[in-house]
């Protein structure tokens, strides 16, 4: 996220606190793609994602009054999104399980992954997405969140530490463990 967006966030949060409804919409529009992306990577299935995303934004807006404006807004969005995904998975522990061999799940991944490049590109993207999601399922909740934020969302360990309210050392330790674990799984597959 660049500085301009951070400044836009700052301005919109201030305006929203003053009662500007359009500022809320701007915040929602600016961050919803990020929220959906993280929810998907956290294993929230397509059918549930809209509900969980709503929950995320309701939490964000409901607690906007207590948001510390000295912190970056995107960091707060990441934290609430990861927590909401975690809560959802805990509530639906038996249901939200991404089994790459499940035909329904495979079809859903394919449908989601098919980009404008057509069916072939869609198949390749679906295969790649399915493989990655299968790998992510093998991580613990914390390792998964840290790996997603660092390696897939391209945030630094220091930023992720702020996102998740943990130390940067803990982030690096879990990230290292997650990467080693994933490499081991990839090694076993080859």
């Amino acid at each position: 996220m660049d500085d301009k967006q951070a400044k836009d966030d700052e301005r919109d949060v201030r305006a929203a606190r003053d009662g500007d409804a359009r500022a809320l919409e701007s915040l929602l529009d600016r961050h919803q793609a990020r929220v959906f992306r993280v929810l998907r990577l956290m294993g929230i299935l397509l059918d549930d994602r809209d509900d969980v995303a709503q929950e995320v934004f309701i939490r964000i807006f409901r607690h906007l009054g207590s948001y510390d404006a000295r912190r970056r807004f995107d960091s707060w969005v990441y934290r609430i999104t990861v927590n909401a995904a975690h809560d959802h998975r805990c509530r639906h522990a038996g249901r939200v399980h991404l089994d790459a061999d499940d035909p329904g799940v495979a079809r859903q991944i394919h449908e989601e992954a098919e980009p404008s490049g057509g069916p072939d590109a869609g198949l390749a993207a679906a295969e790649s997405s399915r493989e990655l999601m299968g790998l992510l399922e093998s991580l613990s909740a914390r390792e998964r969140a840290i790996f997603i934020l660092c390696d897939l969302e391209e945030r630094t360990p220091r930023q992720v530490a702020r996102d998740l309210a943990i130390s940067a050392i803990t982030v690096r330790r879990h990230l290292g463990r997650a990467r080693r674990h994933l490499r081991r799984l990839v090694d076993e597959k080859v």
Partner: protein, 159 residues
């Protein structure tokens, strides 16, 4: 061997790269979902000014109180990891037990507070699906005796 090693690690790198490049920009809140989110932000307002409570100049405060059957204990502050709980002074809430009842006195009780009650702190983290236990102004009370089948550890959230 070295080639195999490169292939494996290239595969993981490739998966990461594919994920970063995947076009997920199309995924957006449904129209109904968007309305619900924006509506929830605005219907929070307890006043008629149109300013939702979350935007009030006074920071919202949240307490969670545990009331077991025999002993009474309470904790202030951050019960919920989903949102930052503002600091709360110990003088804001006092609790006393009288007979079979526990009475909560809220120091700034001039304004109405919604009280939620549950045996699950997770439920209280986001009480949007819960019916408020009470609409308190100044104080509220609850029975200390646990009922049959009910958890003897009860959590309260005061917004």
């Amino acid at each position: 061997m070295a080639r195999n090693h490169d292939q494996r690690h290239d595969r993981l790198t490739q998966l990461i790269r594919d994920s970063r490049n995947q076009d997920t920009g199309v995924e957006r809140l449904s129209a109904g979902g968007r309305d619900r989110v924006l509506g929830a932000a605005w219907t929070e307002s307890p006043t008629s000014t149109g300013i939702p409570s979350l935007f009030l100049p006074i920071r919202r405060w949240t307490w969670a109180v545990m009331a077991p059957t025999v002993a009474l204990a309470f904790v202030f502050g951050s019960m919920f990891f989903t949102a930052e709980a503002p600091e709360a002074g110990a003088s804001l809430l006092s609790i006393e037990k009288r007979g079979g009842q526990v009475i909560f006195n809220i120091a700034n009780g001039g304004q109405p507070h919604r009280v939620y009650r549950s045996s699950s702190p997770q439920e209280l983290a986001d009480p949007s699906d819960l019916q408020p236990f009470a609409q308190a102004q100044g104080s509220f009370r609850d029975s200390v005796q646990s009922q049959a089948g009910e958890s003897n550890l009860v959590f309260y959230r005061i917004d």
